[in-house]
């Protein structure tokens, strides 16, 4: 199987990249492990702010539907419920539909594999009922299942604040938010304050001393600076922040740099969102964890670069388009994240990790 452009991951960045490349007449294939387009947007019921034009402010699943509708205008090859198992010596990627494995050869690859939630470990964190906060959101908003009656949250990022609101709305009793750092990590204070106002306890400089339960979690000991107390909960939701998913980049022999504010190790890329491997481009949260608006813009920049390389867009036009998109990116994402992104790009030629992959 051959394609001009192979897009890996059908979340917001992947779909935007598919729209951009397909609209220029390129032969585009998009692959995702899920049976639906939209990636993690599918279970985001909160309003997304700071989306780039022409998007109005809308809920995550609405944006997923909007993007999916746009895609249907183009003759794209969909490989849903397919996954990549790795790369072969001739540069083709191995794809499986769970029955067979077959190779696909692409002129250009855009990897938009997104982010993964980081774990937080404490004694007995392996008990059932202890899961990532994103897992709880998936249960509530995608599978329509209430994962428990009462919960404590471990961590306090913006991602968690949105989800806590959604959990409360389906009747889950949130008994406290436990943050190891001296301050709450979320930046959108409006959402934090709303939780304060309804009397939700925030504990800083705090951690889980131990979870207990036979077969599933029943109680947790919460360690504060001056005391320990027990909460009886059947749900402990872990919010350890998010990091780019690196598996495939590693296989593709991409180099990596490190950016704390981008989520840790991040594949190296230049301002065209081209990785250290010529034909491999990157988009979305894989380029560093950012707001939803930024994900769309990175997808567009990566696609513009691919269009230029495949000569369906003149260099001049591509540069102009890219420059505008970069301006928009700067205006949409948090300043410190944008600055770290620029720093990451500056280190493109001197990556901290390279030639990692040995077949």
């Amino acid at each position: 199987m051959d394609t001009d452009v192979l897009i890996i991951g059908a979340g917001p960045a992947g779909i935007v990249a598919a729209i951009e490349t397909a609209s220029k007449g390129l032969n585009v294939t998009i692959i995702d492990e899920s049976n639906l387009l939209g990636g993690q947007l599918r279970q985001q019921t909160q309003m997304l702010q700071s989306l780039p034009s022409p998007y109005q402010s809308m809920r995550g699943f609405e944006l997923a539907q909007d993007l999916t509708n746009q895609l249907t205008q183009f003759p794209i090859r969909y490989l849903l419920e397919h996954r990549i198992i790795g790369i072969y010596a001739n540069g083709s990627l191995g794809i499986t539909d769970e029955l067979n494995v077959f190779p696909i050869m692409a002129k250009k690859i855009i990897v938009a594999t997104g982010a993964t939630e980081n774990a937080i470990s404490f004694p007995k964190w392996t008990l059932p009922g202890i899961m990532t906060i994103g897992a709880a959101q998936t249960l509530v908003n995608r599978d329509f299942v209430i994962p428990g009656k009462s919960a404590v949250i471990v961590g306090s990022t913006d991602f968690a604040m949105d989800i806590i609101h959604q959990l409360i709305d389906v009747g889950i009793n949130i008994k406290g938010i436990i943050e190891q750092q001296p301050t709450i990590q979320a930046r959108e204070m409006k959402k934090v304050n709303e939780l304060y106002d309804i009397g939700l306890p925030f504990y800083v400089n705090a951690s889980i001393k131990e979870a207990r339960g036979i077969g599933e979690v029943k109680e947790v000991d919460i360690q504060l600076q001056d005391r320990v107390f027990t909460e009886y909960v059947d749900l402990v939701l872990v919010d350890g922040g998010r990091s780019p998913i690196l598996d495939l980049f590693y296989q593709l022999n991409c180099s990596f740099g490190f950016g704390d504010k981008l989520g840790g190790w991040v594949p190296s890329y230049n301002q065209s969102f081209q990785t250290s491997v010529n034909d491999v481009f990157i988009a979305g949260n894989a380029t560093g964890i950012s707001v939803h608006g930024a994900l769309l813009i990175t997808g567009k920049i990566a696609a513009t670069s691919v269009c230029e390389e495949l000569e369906v867009l003149s260099r001049e036009e591509a540069e102009k388009q890219s420059a505008e998109l970069w301006k928009e990116l700067e205006s949409r994402e948090y300043t410190d994240v944008f600055q770290e992104r620029i720093k990451h790009i500056e280190s493109y030629k001197s990556p901290m990790l390279k030639n990692q992959f040995i077949s």
């Binding site: 059932p128 897992a135 599978d143 329509f144 299942v145």
Partner: protein, 107 residues
């Protein structure tokens, strides 16, 4: 518990199916994953760890952590968070490693 009427998304659970956990029938809905359907029925322990034999359940829900491995329709070590329910599905907890050296498998 199933969410019959979601505060934002409304009534989404339309097509009921029956799945069997340890041969007991459970109500699930089409499009739910196996892990989600079990949690809706109050079952959180999906298996046991291989070394220390401790209870395990859903953790990442993204098919990455493998904490939700179960035996589904005779196939062991299936990621129950990535597998959609089907009517009549037979589901068992993942308890230890299966015996692979059997006549059936050519040994």
């Amino acid at each position: 518990m199933h969410i019959e009427n979601h505060p934002v998304l409304g009534k989404q659970l339309q097509k009921p199916v029956t799945v069997y956990f340890n041969n007991q029938p459970l109500l699930a809905y089409k499009q739910q994953t196996v892990a989600a359907a079990l949690i809706a029925n109050g079952i959180k322990k999906l298996g046991e760890s291989r070394k220390l034999v401790q209870s395990r359940g859903l953790f990442c829900s993204r098919g990455r952590c493998c904490s939700c491995y179960m035996t589904i329709d005779g196939e062991n070590h299936v990621r129950s968070c990535m597998t959609k329910v089907k009517d009549g599905m037979q589901i068992y907890q993942s308890l230890g490693d299966p015996e692979i050296r059997s006549d059936e498998n050519g040994y």
